[in-house]
Symmetry: C2
Subunit: 241 residues, 2 copies
């Protein structure tokens, strides 16, 4: 589920022997990210090192190193001498995260408009219409997947590596919320309209407009999520569009 880096231990073709095996603390971090996103480790849940070690089949040293990384990413919260827990962001934290992601994507949109060539636009267009197809067919899961790809790809097209990394990291923090909310189809039509505007703005290289649309898009996403939350009376679960 998590986007792993290429695994040097297994990625080799025949003859291209990996120079070394992937460190356990990296694999452990990946596994932990997955477990958190998929809810195998619930938000707020206390994490006991030895228990996790048994489950992952590693010793405490690499696990603890992985935990430090996850903490820096905001996925777990460390309490000195009192162990760690899966981060349980408040609705306010999640709203804050959306605001920041919105600002990052807005910047990405502006930068992308200055760099994209016709190929890039065409690629986004393909993704967009694939997503539209899934939407009309009501294929929720595929729709969300494409949606996320589009946003990610747009950020990549900014060519700003710092931006890409910051966006990826913040997105990871609320991935679980999106994962959980994959069942709600609310706001599809509006979201699709906004995505069409995004595509238009990108195609015409109108960076300022694209930035505005992205900010608005993220704001609306948050609003919809908050309404969804109020209606379902469950912890803030967010839409992924």
């Amino acid at each position: 589920m998590s986007e792993r880096g290429p695994d040097p231990a297994t990625a080799g073709y025949a003859g291209q022997r990996p120079r070394s095996r992937r460190p356990l603390h990296e694999s452990a971090a990946d596994r932990l990210r997955d477990m958190i996103v998929e809810g195998e480790l619930a938000p707020g849940e206390r994490i006991r090192e030895q228990a996790l070690c048994d489950r992952l089949g590693v010793s405490r040293t690499p696990l603890r190193e992985a935990m430090k990384v996850l903490a820096a990413e905001g996925l777990v919260t460390l309490q000195p001498n009192r162990g760690a827990m899966v981060s349980d962001p408040s609705p306010a934290d999640i709203a804050d995260t959306f605001k920041v992601i919105g600002a990052l994507e807005a910047l990405a949109g502006e930068l992308a408009c200055e760099r994209v060539d016709e190929n890039d636009v065409a690629e986004i267009r393909v993704l967009h219409y694939q997503m539209a197809l899934h939407q009309t067919r009501g294929e929720l899961r595929e729709y969300f997947r494409l949606n996320q790809r589009i946003h990610e790809r747009l950020v990549e097209l900014s060519g700003n590596r710092v931006l890409i990394e910051a966006h990826r990291q913040l997105g990871g923090r609320i991935r679980r919320q999106r994962f959980v909310a994959n069942r709600s189809g609310a706001r599809w039509e509006q979201a699709m309209r906004e995505h069409e505007q995004m595509l238009d703005a990108l195609a015409s290289r109108d960076g300022r407009r694209l930035a505005d649309i992205l900010r608005l898009h993220l704001d609306n996403k948050l609003t919809a999520a908050e309404r969804f939350d109020r209606e379902t009376e469950k912890p803030l679960a967010l839409l992924a569009d």
Copy 2:
């Protein structure tokens, strides 16, 4: 010297004494941040664990944990089985970082305008005129210190904790560059004019204008830094204003 994150042992309610002593890996991380900012560890320099352990007086376990944190912050770069090195961001990386910081501060400006009361504005005003005084006196160091405080405080006034943390982290990555460049007084006048505009916009709660000024301010900062770099023929050293 380093802006430490909130200490989990002391953060929380006022008067809540630390229940235990600060973990070694946290202290080590703080020390390492300082050493990197001050150039005691040079960019690109290979980091040997045992040597650092001897210097810091800790064993490898907490040091390695600290290194994982620093890597997540972007201050060091890890190469599996091949050790770590102090990150040596390219001019492009630094430019990218400035762009993202600009977007974050722009968002902070907008949010701050919706929240600040007269006290907050007055506080910024005081910092501003203190900075102006240091500028006319040519007190470079104090000028930079106040300058940084103003930007940090503005971001804090956004009330968005995710934003504050992201800004703090990205600022940390280029702190060494600013530290090195503390000798250049270029662009003071222009920077001061921009800061006056910032104060105006904040006082009149004009979020959109403040955001634009901040973006421009950061862009100009980068441009000046790049020119400074070309002129001195040294690795990109950045102004701190």
